[in-house]
């Protein structure tokens, strides 16, 4: 051992080819890593506050916590969209389980329901997003995978029928079981909800849903301030952040207050029937007991709470 080796750093003092390559490799690696994560760093610093990052799961929020979260979200809506909104945390009504039925004999495929959903639920305007996809189907076929959603001609066509498809609020929901972080679950009244602040955007649920009912926010939703629906629910139509999943909630911000869903009110033919399946006197129960009712993809065992029927 000589003196120079004792007192100096090996890399600086002995610039062998091997150490030089190691140093260059380490530097390049660090730079590449920084570049690779820069979108996340930029996104996090621009859109996400510390409070956002530290927010607890919906089910672990106390009422004080929820008040703070809602105040923050209302503030965000003002900052990001220039809109004064009211967000509530509507709870399930005891003794109520929601179900929906749709009369395929009278649906004309006009997509008024999809438009009402688009406006009610604060969907991104540019992508014409909606939780309802109306499928134009050939008469005689019941295979929803063969339906067309972007038809653009007067309806109804004589050789077609029209089948609006939205979340079926399954009693055995595959989208819920695949979620790796429990950001989506089924509530007491049957509604499958998403905590948009807990969702990590992995899109497993979108892949798992046999009804193509879930949507992903590829971009930050853009809505003019005057078009924002200010009556919002934490688990329903508040404006979603970029990068999270969303889905039909049977308009729980309306229906848990006793109102009809927006798509039902918009339907010009009265094809839609909504109500409490636990109430034997309800309209939905009359339909289930007196009409020829079926569910989509029954063989999958998802137990949809959305029913289709024909008059004849």
């Amino acid at each position: 051992m000589n003196d120079s080796n004792k007192t100096s750093l090996p890399v600086l003092n002995n610039p062998t080819r091997r150490t030089a390559i190691k140093a260059a490799g380490a530097t390049l690696g660090a730079l590449a890593f920084a570049k690779a994560i820069s979108p996340i760093v930029e996104w996090a610093s621009a859109e996400t506050s510390i409070d956002d990052m530290l927010q607890k799961h919906y089910k672990e929020l106390g009422s004080d916590d929820m008040d703070q979260v809602i105040a923050r979200l209302e503030e965000d809506a003002k900052d990001n969209y220039g809109a004064e909104v009211t967000i509530k945390d509507q709870k399930p009504i005891p003794g109520v389980k929601f179900a929906y039925a749709l009369n395929l004999s009278v649906c004309v495929g006009c997509r008024r329901c999809a438009q009402a959903c688009h406006e009610e639920n604060n969907h991104d305007r540019a992508s014409s997003n909606s939780y309802i996809r109306v499928l134009e189907m050939s008469k005689g076929s019941m295979d929803m995978e063969q339906g067309t959603a972007d038809y653009d001609h007067p309806v109804p066509q004589d050789d077609k029928f029209y089948m609006p498809v939205q979340c079926q609020q399954c009693d055995n929901p595959p989208c819920v079981s695949v979620c790796p972080v429990e950001a989506t679950w089924k509530e007491e009244d049957g509604i499958v909800v998403v905590d948009y602040n807990w969702c990590i955007g992995c899109r497993y649920c979108e892949a798992a849903c046999p009804y193509h009912a879930r949507r992903f926010n590829w971009t930050k939703p853009e809505i003019p301030a005057e078009e924002v629906n200010p009556d919002q629910g934490y688990l329903s139509n508040r404006i979603r952040p970029q990068g999270v999943m969303e889905k039909c909630t049977f308009c729980l911000h309306r229906t848990r207050e006793g109102e009809m869903p927006a798509c039902l009110e918009a339907c010009p033919t009265g094809a839609r029937v909504f109500g409490n399946i636990l109430d034997p006197e309800s309209e939905i129960r009359w339909v289930l007991q007196n009409k020829r009712v079926f569910v989509l993809k029954e063989e999958l065992g998802t137990k949809p709470q959305f029913f289709y029927f024909f008059d004849k």
């Binding site: 109520v96 006009c110 999809a114 438009q115 540019a126 959603a149 590829w218 109102e259 009359w286």
Partner: protein
């Protein structure tokens, strides 16, 4: 011995108490009877009294017809049915709007093989008439439609036909329902063809090509 007079004194007061109580009961009972809801069109099941109402929209009444003329104030001059029909002789064979020469030109009729007088009342054009000849007000048009369209009317009574707005839960608020002619033109009742709105624009519906399949 001393208790008896006390007891009798209490009995003496009884009519004074009983008469007002009876009077209040009679008044309440008569109010309850007079508060009975309109049973002209009873709903499928009588709702308990604490529920909000289901209101069925009704036509305003006998229609009027635009004469095509304007009055001195520039307002259109409209005529009532009886303005002409008190002197005109009814023609029971008239079936098509295109056969009308003086008024109602351009009226599209496409309602099975009904003639005008199947529903219009030649004895009183301010009212309609049922199949048995009984007159019925324009506001009660659903009674007329229901004569032939029983299955639809049954569905309607159970909330499975016809558009509505308001509350599914009538303990929280009321509901408004369309009547038959809100959606069906009585002269040509088939629901018209429409242009669909809000064409979907999501990325999976675009025709895929090798260039943008993985963008």
């Amino acid at each position: 011995m001393s208790r008896k007079p006390v007891k009798r004194a209490w009995l003496a007061w009884t009519p004074l108490i009983a008469i007002p109580v009876l009077a209040v009961a009679v008044v309440m009972a008569s109010q309850a009877l007079s508060d009975k809801p309109d049973v002209e069109n009873p709903p499928a099941s009588q709702p308990p009294l604490d529920l909000h109402p289901v209101v069925i929209r009704k036509p305003a009444g006998p229609p009027t017809i635009d004469t095509g003329q304007l009055d001195s104030a520039g307002q259109p001059v409209v005529a009532n049915c009886t303005t002409c029909h008190t002197t005109k002789v009814p023609n029971p064979r008239l079936v098509h709007g295109k056969d009308l020469v003086d008024f109602h030109q351009g009226l599209t009729t496409n309602h099975g093989d009904r003639s005008c007088l199947s529903c219009h009342n030649p004895d009183d054009y301010n009212r309609l008439r049922l199949a048995d000849g009984k007159p019925v007000a324009f506001t009660e048009v659903m009674t007329l439609c229901a004569q032939c369209h029983g299955p639809q009317y049954k569905d309607y009574q159970h909330g499975a036909h016809g558009g509505m707005t308001g509350h599914w839960d009538l303990t929280k608020g009321p509901r408004a329902r369309n009547n038959c002619i809100d959606c069906h033109d009585p002269h040509a009742p088939q629901f018209p063809k429409l242009m669909p709105v809000l064409r979907p624009n999501d990325r999976f519906l675009r025709p895929s090509s090798s260039e943008d399949a993985h963008e």
